[in-house]
Subunit: 187 residues, 2 copies
């Protein structure tokens, strides 16, 4: 089982918030920084603006062949050059969740090329998906993207392409939070 990851927005955190933009539905409150934590938000500081939670979980749509391509190209989070990050929380409609698995897969990949489009941005744009739906979170998904500053153009193209797809007809709420790393992470 994967741990629950909490994105805690407040006055302090490794990732400084550059901007918060509502793409669909209500936005998230402004805050100075986001702290990404695996130890749960039990002792979140009193000036916390919001906490979003998700689980890395297992793949819902990827096939063996796509998995091979992804693993051959993708790089992990935490690369020293990845000083830019974007957190995109998404809520999909009840209509989406009522669809059977084969129709969701068809919209997701055969018609919207979600995996293919993500592959085109690898390895420059690293990403990790977190699932929040079964946790009763306000967002079904949190996607965390990381890249070097010169990857921003490629990242923007990725977003632009995905948002023009049939899959995005099912997106009810979406927020785009841009972040910048304030120091080199120490591990």
């Amino acid at each position: 089982m994967s741990p629950v990851v909490s994105f805690v927005a407040g006055s302090r955190g490794l990732w400084e918030i550059v901007s918060v933009k509502a793409i669909a539905g209500p936005s998230l409150d402004a805050a100075a920084a986001v702290d990404v934590r695996e130890d749960g938000p039990a002792d979140a500081p009193s000036d916390t603006k919001w906490i979003l939670r998700g689980v890395a979980s297992y793949q819902r749509y990827v096939t063996r062949e796509e998995d091979r391509e992804l693993k051959a190209l993708q790089e992990p989070l935490g690369r020293p050059a990845s000083t830019d990050a974007v957190l995109i929380p998404i809520l999909k409609s009840d209509l989406w969740w009522a669809l059977p698995q084969d129709e969701r897969r068809e919209i997701f990949e055969e018609r919207s090329h979600h995996i293919r489009t993500g592959l085109d941005a690898l390895p420059a744009v690293a990403r990790q998906l977190y699932h929040g739906r079964d946790l009763g979170e306000p967002f079904d998904f949190l996607t965390w993207f990381e890249f070097a500053p010169d990857g921003m153009t490629l990242f923007d193209e990725l977003l632009h392409e995905l948002r023009a797809t049939p899959e995005w007809d099912y997106v009810e709420r979406e927020v785009e939070v841009h972040l910048r790393r304030t120091e080199v992470p120490h591990d």
Copy 2:
């Protein structure tokens, strides 16, 4: 979003526990009854033996055509004649969860006929699946079966068939909790 459903085992509850049997891995503690609750276990009685939680969530494998067949045949939980119930918590292996979606589907249905076998027991054996994996629960799935006493033979055949499938090679822990309703539910 579906609510989290809690199965609270202790001294009181609508469903009296008839037996608890470990099929694979450690069993669950004996208790007198199970209370099925949607309001969370926050105020669980002090003599609670165990609490298992899950979310009804969305379909992970069912196709449109299978969904049609299921909906045409299945009946809801809570039928007055359904005085027998069985709760089967299951944990699958890391190997299962590391498989891509297409291979899990193939094992689940094309090779193990999980949906087809369940269809054969409809409408006599009603069932509801709850997902616990993303919640960090000890079991990935809780399946609740309900039927009239004369449905027991059909139910036993269903279990027997499923446990002989390739899908069950990935089951690490499984417990079978038989229950009997102690009174007519009032709604």
